[in-house]
Amino acid sequence: MCQVEEDYNGLECKQEKIPVPTLNRKCMKCKEGTAVLIIRVNDSFCRSCFKEYFIHKFRAMLGKNRVIFLQEKGLSREAPKKLRFVPGIIYIDDGGACGRSAEERQRSNALLKSIFTETGFTYFIVSLEQVFSLPTSVLVPGTSDPDPSNPSYKQAVDQYIKEKQTLTEENVASAVAQLSIEDSAYSPEHKLALERLFSSMKTLTAKEDMLQTLRSHLILHIARENGYSKVMMGDSCSRLAVKLLSNIALGRGAALASDTGFSDPRYGDVVIVRPMRDYSSKEIAFYSRMFNVPSVFISGLDTQTHDKTSIQRLTESFVTNLQSDFPSTVSTIYRTSEKLHTVMPPQSQTAEPASKCLLCLCTLDTKVDKASAFHATLVSEQLSQIKLQDPSLDAPAQSAEQCCTEGQGCGPGGCCSSNR
């Protein structure tokens, strides 16, 4: 495609950015307002058109996927279709794993509580430490709806409309107020257990991975306990592109469809959806800024870390940097991920349910034959843990020998074992 010798009339083949005069551009939609934002390569929007676009995209995303119920019949033809579901907000305080002090955590929890109360929705502020008090049933996926293509969709909507009509406004407000929990109390044992767990992990990559696992379990539990059948996550297109590539690097290729797709059915009774997956970080940041969506910044595990401290961090840096020179990077990765679909195994009463991984609750992919990536990983692990014993052993032992030049034998962990 791009060949160094060919003359492209001076066009730089390296960058995709087409220099277009951008000063004082008009909104490309209404053609009248001055543009305040430019997204993708050349799409400029004025404030009101951007707001419309943003909101429309959200509804279209939910409507297209038919997972969340929309009210089908409006009260009058002019009334726009309203989203009729009662949401709750959940926030997991993971300060214990990230090394934040109790005061810092209390401060941000208080800020968040005031934001949540403003919204009028039920909210749950839960500390990550509480994951230690979860019942083991969390690790068992619940039974899912046997018929995913839902003729009951219509019935459910009809029934919902009937139910809604019996609740008056006052009832709803007080019922909601009673449901909110701020359960940030945790026992010292749990706090210690969490700290020990995280300090036992040698790499930031492992810590970040564990943090995600624990958060998922906790969110799942809260959702189940309180009767929520869907959980909406806020992953943007940009973050999902990074997650996709990081997960491949972490060996989670088999679970890509559920990890990054719109809906994640692995838990059975609770479905994880990602309605923000069509928005770039820029769109979300601009919308929040322009329309005063309150936000609280909270340091995470990898805040202010160097590029190379973890696989996830490195991938984020790689993708973001590539995106600045090649603005279609993230959307290409995203489009590729859209082509991945979760394969639902045929439900059969007699067959045993497939065994699931204890940590991520995805179907195990380890019963495979020798010509597989899994087997290669096992072999690689074995080789890197070989102890220096018999000098007549062939090549693998020799490479182990080279790095043990101090004369000390490899300990039980093995100095060449990969801790990744």
Binding site: R25, V36, I38, I284, R289, S295, Q304, T305, E316, T320
Partner: protein, 97 residues
């Protein structure tokens, strides 16, 4: 020349946690442009880890810049000439600060 700088999304961590700054830029014969402003910020305001805020002459990819509530890409990015009382906002969208 007066300018208001705001930092969000974690970018404030690099400026002692302070989100709002009113800065007075030293007078000079030529108008200030964004490139010079960034260089000035790096030299005078960044407390630590300049590589988390800037990359070369411009901001690190992943940090959004708004000038008077509009995308700086629409205003010429580094070439935009600052005017008195302009509002500049930096929003970080990255995990790593």
């Amino acid at each position: 020349m007066l300018s208001k700088l705001k930092l969000h999304g974690g970018a404030e961590l690099l400026f002692d946690g302070v989100k709002n700054h009113h800065v007075t830029l030293p007078g000079q014969s030529d108008p200030w442009d964004m490139k010079q402003l960034l260089a000035w910020i790096r030299g005078n305001m960044l407390k630590e880890r300049p590589e988390l805020f800037m990359q070369g002459d411009t901001v690190r990819p992943g940090i959004l810049v708004l000038i008077n509530d509009a995308d700086w890409e629409l205003m010429g990015e580094l070439e935009y000439q600052l005017q008195d009382q302009d509002n500049v906002v930096f929003i970080s969208t990255l995990h790593g600060g």
